[in-house]
Amino acid sequence: MIELRDVSKQFVLHNQGSAVIPVLQGAALQVSHGECVALTGNSGAGKSTLMRMVYGNYLADAGAIVVDGVDLVTAAPRDILALRRQSLGYVSQFLRVVPRVPTLEVVAEPLLMLRVERAAAMARAEQLLGLLNIPERLWSLSPTTFSGGEQQRVNIARGFAYSYPALLLDEPTASLDPVNRAVVLSLIEEAKARGAAILGIFHDAEARARVCDRSIDVSDFTPKAA
């Protein structure tokens, strides 16, 4: 479902003396249906960079990144957008929303974009927000003023509203209390059970041990100093 072949990436900082920072070289991995794979490695090893490349948020310099048959390295923007709508979900660490939009709408949006009937989309959003213990009195408010933990949970609810066949998770259990952490882990297990391919970054070792089938150490892809 998710496959990387010989992917490399470097950053060129044009305004800082054209500094070249090589990040990844020869990165390769595969995630099958129903599998959860963890990216590991020290801070700065390129875990987030790799994940962002799989989402098409960062460009790859070489190689192929194929998700559900679409190669993100060569795909046109509109094909990447279609892939993100239909097949590829991403739970980032930050919630980025239009001010004023109520939490329920934020969570239901991925479903509404797929033209799911409004009532059904809202019902699913309510179910997830309830599950993640967001008090009902907050549902009609914009999440911009919520606490960090609440925003994180809204973000997770949004990421799980639609059953994406491929899912990227960036620290999904960070800053969560034990109760909500357990809810998120069971959401991940449910997604695996229905066949989703999941690629994630988990600093929480216990969570990783529970939901991940294997780990890939990203430092294996660190370019060797010339």
């Binding site: 044009h14 098409g56 948020n57 460009l59 923007p77 509109r78 990447i80 001010p99 004023r100």
Partner: protein, 263 residues
């Protein structure tokens, strides 16, 4: 980059568009395709040529060379630059809309709010007073202008309300393509947020395509699917909006992104 999908359903195709002001470059060699439902953002600082480009596309300025092809309802691409003046005016009243930065450029200031909105319907043939009034009330509601303000003139409105009225006037005829020039420029941040929320909702509900020129990167991040970055009349970088903003490749884009003040 060659588009992988067939260009059969392209809505707008801009090819090699250039405009010079004497020896000075307005914009040069701009080419891109826009598909139904897509929002394209164009960013760059003042004088980068983004407004020149927008005005050339919308037919307000005559470019020196290039083509602006638009798919009519029959699906055939037609070069709008070669259309006769009445044809182009008709297009501007039906399938195209233009939202000006300054609402007063897009409104008739001495006509009531309802008149401003209803006038567009009459221009495409609506004659029944009740139906026009009803359409106007509906659209004023959609842009959050209370019904009891329908007989007020735009001069009695705040800047944010004028801008929303301009949007209602433009969208009531159900255009397929909207050009927007700094639609949130000059408005308070809180008013901007409301307008952005409104625009996003309308774009999604109506399946609108839009070309938005702005210098505000936050605006394009929230509204645009794709982004073009202009400098000195040239497109220096283009791609998926979040990719261009998060992993900019060109030195100028890197400078632009890193110059934004964090709040």
């Amino acid at each position: 980059m060659k588009d992988m999908t067939q260009d059969t359903d392209v809505l707008l195709s801009v090819r090699g568009l250039s405009k010079f002001y004497g020896a000075r470059i307005g914009c040069t060699e701009v080419s891109f395709d826009l598909f139904p439902g897509e929002v394209m953002g164009i960013v760059g600082e003042s004088g980068s040529g983004k407004s020149t480009l927008l005005n050339c596309m919308a037919g307000h300025l005559a470019p020196d060379c290039g083509e602006v092809l638009f798919a009519g309802r029959d699906g055939d691409l037609q070069d709008t630059l070669k259309m006769s003046e009445p044809e182009r005016r008709m297009l501007g009243r039906t399938d195209w809309a233009f939202v000006h930065q300054h609402a007063r450029d897009g409104l008739r200031m001495n006509v009531s709010a309802g008149g401003n909105v209803g006038e567009r319907l009459m221009a495409v043939g609506a004659r029944h007073y009740g139906a026009i009034r009803e359409g106007a009330v509906d659209w004023l509601g959609r842009v959050e202008i209370a019904e009891d303000r329908i007989d007020d003139r735009p001069t009695a409105f705040s800047g944010g309300m004028q801008q929303r009225l301009q949007i209602a006037r433009n969208l009531i005829t159900g255009p397929r393509l909207v050009f927007m020039d700094e639609p949130t420029g000059g408005l308070d941040v809180s008013v901007q947020a409301r307008l952005l929320d409104l625009l996003r909702g309308l774009v999604r509900e109506m399946g609108l395509s839009a070309v938005i020129v702005t210098h505000d990167l936050a605006v394009v991040r929230l509204l645009a699917d794709r982004l073009m970055v202009m400098k000195d009349g040239l497109v220096v970088e283009s791609g998926l909006t979040d990719q261009v903003l998060d992993d900019p490749q060109h030195g100028y884009t890197q400078l632009l992104v890193s110059s934004v003040l964090q709040v």
